[in-house]
C-alpha cells in the first residue's frame, strides 16, 4: 500500500465510482479482505471494466500485484497498459524480478516474464537471475519451465551442460536436474548416436551405485536398445554384486527381462519384488501372474541373478527396500 489516505479521498480518483465485488444478492463465500485491499480492488474493477488505459491504472496494478501476485487479470491488464503507454520495459523487468524473489512459486509471474522477455528481445542477465531463484529452491517447477523456454528461444544450450552437471554433483537425488539433463541430451545433435549414448550411459550407471536413488534408475531406460542392453545388464549385475539389490534395481532388471521375453527371469525378479516392496506387492504379484514362464537359455549373469535372488539370506531394510546380497558359495 503506497498511500495511507483512502482512495475515496484522493482527488485523482474522484471521477471513478468504485465497484463492489458482488451485488447485494450474494451473501456468503466472500473473502474478509483488508479494507485497503478491498478498496483498491473496487477501483480496479471500475477502471478495468471501462478499459481505461492510464497512468493511474498502471499504478493501481503495481499496488495490487504487490499484494496479490497471482491476480492474472491484473497482469494481463498491466501488459496492455505498458504497451499503450509505451513504458520502459527494462524497468518493468526490475519490478517483476523484485516480486519474483518473494513469490517464486507462481504461474503468473513466470508467464508474464516470458511475454516481457519476448518483447524486450534480449535474455541478458536472465540465466544469472534464474540461478539465484533456483538457489532458493532448486526444484521449482515454474522456474525450470521458464528456463527451458529461455534456452530454446535464445539458443543457450552450451552453457547449460555445466550448470546441470554442477547441480547433479551437489545433489544426485535432484530429479529436476536429471530431467533437465534429458532435455539437453535429447536436443543434442549427437542424440541417439552411438558414442554419445555410450558415454552418457556410463555416467548414469555410475550414479546407479546409489541404489536407493530412483532418478538414475528411471533414466537408465532412455538408453535401452539392442546395442546397449548387454552393457546395461552387466552394469546392473556389477552394482548388485557390490551393493545388493534395491527395488529400483530389481525393477530395471524386470524391465530388461520383459523386453527380452525372458519369462522365467521375470518371474523370479517380480516374485522378489512382491516380497520386499510392501507398497506395491499387489502390482508385482499381478505381473507375476501375467508372466509367461518359458524356459530360456540363461547367460552367466542370469544364473548369478537367479542364485542371488533365490538362495541367499535376506537382509531387508525398509528405508531403501534393500535386499542385501551375500556372495553364493
Amino acid at each position: 500500500m503506497t498511500s495511507e489516505i483512502s482512495m475515496a479521498q484522493q482527488s485523482e480518483w474522484s471521477d471513478v465510482i468504485p465497484k463492489p465485488e458482488y451485488s447485494q444478492k450474494v451473501k456468503i463465500g466472500k473473502i474478509n479482505y483488508l479494507p485497503q485491499f478491498e478498496e483498491m480492488m473496487k477501483y480496479f474493477r471500475s477502471v478495468h471494466d471501462n478499459k481505461e488505459y492510464s497512468e493511474r491504472a498502471l499504478n493501481l496494478t503495481t499496488n495490487l500485484l504487490k499484494a496479490c501476485p497471482g491476480f492474472y487479470t491484473g497482469w494481463h491488464y498491466r501488459a496492455e497498459l505498458l504497451d499503450i503507454l509505451k513504458k520502459n520495459l527494462d524497468e518493468e523487468l526490475v519490478f517483476l524480478s523484485s516480486l519474483s524473489l518473494r513469490n517464486h512459486k507462481n504461474y503468473q509471474i513466470w508467464n508474464y516474464r516470458r511475454e516481457l522477455i519476448k518483447k524486450i528481445g534480449s535474455c541478458e542477465g536472465e540465466i544469472d537471475f534464474l540461478n539465484i531463484v533456483l538457489d532458493i529452491d532448486c526444484k521449482n517447477i515454474h522456474v525450470w519451465g521458464y528456463r527451458q523456454w529461455l534456452i530454446t528461444t535464445f539458443n543457450l544450450w552450451d552453457q547449460e551442460y555445466e550448470y546441470v552437471a554442477k547441480l547433479l554433483d551437489e545433489d544426485p537425488y535432484n530429479n529436476s536436474a536429471w530431467s533437465q539433463r534429458y532435455f539437453l541430451e535429447s536436443h543434442s545433435q549427437f542424440y541417439k548416436t552411438s558414442e554419445f549414448e555410450k558415454k552418457n550411459l556410463e555416467f548414469v550407471l555410475e550414479h546407479c551405485k546409489n541404489i536407493d536413488n530412483e532418478c538414475p534408475y528411471n533414466y537408465l531406460k532412455v538408453y535401452y536398445c539392442q546395442e546397449l542392453k548387454e552393457r546395461i545388464m552387466q552394469g546392473l549385475v556389477d552394482i548388485a554384486k557390490d551393493k545388493g539389490f534395491s527395488r529400483f534395481l530389481l525393477q530395471n532388471l524386470g524391465f530388461l527381462y520383459e523386453k527380452d521375453a525372458k519369462g522365467e527371469m521375470c518371474d523370479i525378479v517380480y516374485k522378489k519384488l512382491a516380497k520386499i516392496d510392501f507398497m506395491r506387492k499387489g502390482y508385482w504379484n499381478w505381473k507375476v501372474r501375467r508372466t509367461v514362464r518359458k524356459n530360456i537359455q540363461r547367460t552367466d549373469n542370469d544364473i548369478w541373478v537367479c542364485r542371488a535372488l533365490r538362495d541367499n539370506e535376506e537382509y531387508y531394510n525398509p528405508i531403501y527396500n534393500y535386499y542385501k546380497y551375500s556372495a553364493p558359495q
Binding site: Y22, I31, S186
Partner: protein, 363 residues
Amino acid sequence: MQTKVENLYKIIDLDIHNGTYNNFVILDKDSHCEFSFGGLLRLPRGLTSLCSGQPWLVYWNLNSLNIMKMPIPEEVSSQVIALLSECICPYTGAFCGGPSQDPHLAPTYASVAALISLNSAKGYSIINRKGIHDFIVSMKHKTVPGAFTMHTDGESDMRSVYCAICVASVLNILDDAVTKDVSYHIANCQNYDGGFSAEPNGESHGGYTFCAVASLIMLEKASLVDCERALEWCLMRQMDIEGGFNGRPNKLVDSCYTFWIGAAIVMLKDVLNIPKEVQICSSEALQAYVMVACQSPMGLFDKPGSSPDYYHTAYSLGGLSFFQEPKMFKESILDLADIDPLVNALKKNVEDARKYFIELGPI
C-alpha cells in the same frame, strides 16, 4: 519429514507395513465438515491471494462436504449459484476468478465442478454451453498445436488441457474444434520415466500426470501413450516409510497427491484391465498417512507441521475415497462417497450431469 512421520507412527505403536491396527484412530468427519462448511460461508483474510480463484474455494468445500456425505442446505446451494453467476464473463460466457476479472479455463472448470457438486437444474441453467465452447476454442495455443492457454496471453500447461477437455466432455461440447491435436500434444508430454509434465520436455509431476491421463481417457486416446509405464511411475510415488504419495521422485510426501496420484492409478488400472480386486498400491498405508499424519482438529493439511486448508482437505479426502478398503484401522468407519476420478466430483452427480447435457443435444 520421513523421521517426523515415522515418529508419529511410533508414538501410537503403528506399523504401517503390518496388517491392521486395533487401537482407536478415526477420521474426524464432523470437525472436517464444520471446517469445510465454514469455508462456504466466509473466508479468512489469509485467502486474499485466492481472490483470483474464488470458484475454486466454493468447489473444494462443496466437494469435501459431498465426499463426507454431508447434505448441502438449499439456501447455501442457491447462494453458491448466485455467487458463481456473478463470476461469469458477460462477453464470453466462461467463468472468471471473480467478478470483473478475465475469463479463465481454471475457474471455468472449478465452477462447472461446483455446479455438478450441487447437481441441480437451477445450477446447470446458468451454464452458457455455446459461450464456454467458443471460449475454449479461442484459448487454443497459437504456436503449440493441441495446447491451450489458461486465459488470453496466459500460461499454457497440462492443467489448461485438462480444464478444457473435462468441461467440454461433461457439457457435451467436445467436438473436433476443441479436440484437434490435443491427444498428440499430451502424448508429447509423456517423459522417459513414464510420468507427464506441464509442457513437452518438462519434469514429470503428479498433478500434470493426473491431468494428462484423465484428458486422454475422456478423449478415448489412452492407447497413444505407454499406460503401463505411467502406472508404474505413479505407483513408485507411494513412499515406503510415510505411506503417502509424493508428486515427483525424491520429493516430500503431500496429502493432496492422495487424489492426484490415487485417481491416476485408479484410471490407469482400469485402462490396463487389471482386475478390480487386485490391490496395486497400499490402501492401508494411505489411510495411515492421511488419518494419523494429516488431520488437524478441523480440516486436513499436506504434511505434519502445516496448517489445514480447504485444498488439502478436499484432495486428501477425495483420494481417500478410492482407498477405503482394506482397512488399516479396524474400528474406523470411513464411509466416504464414491468419486468420479475423471472429473473429481460425486460419481452419481457426474452421471446425472452427463445425462442432463446429452439431453440438451448439440450446441
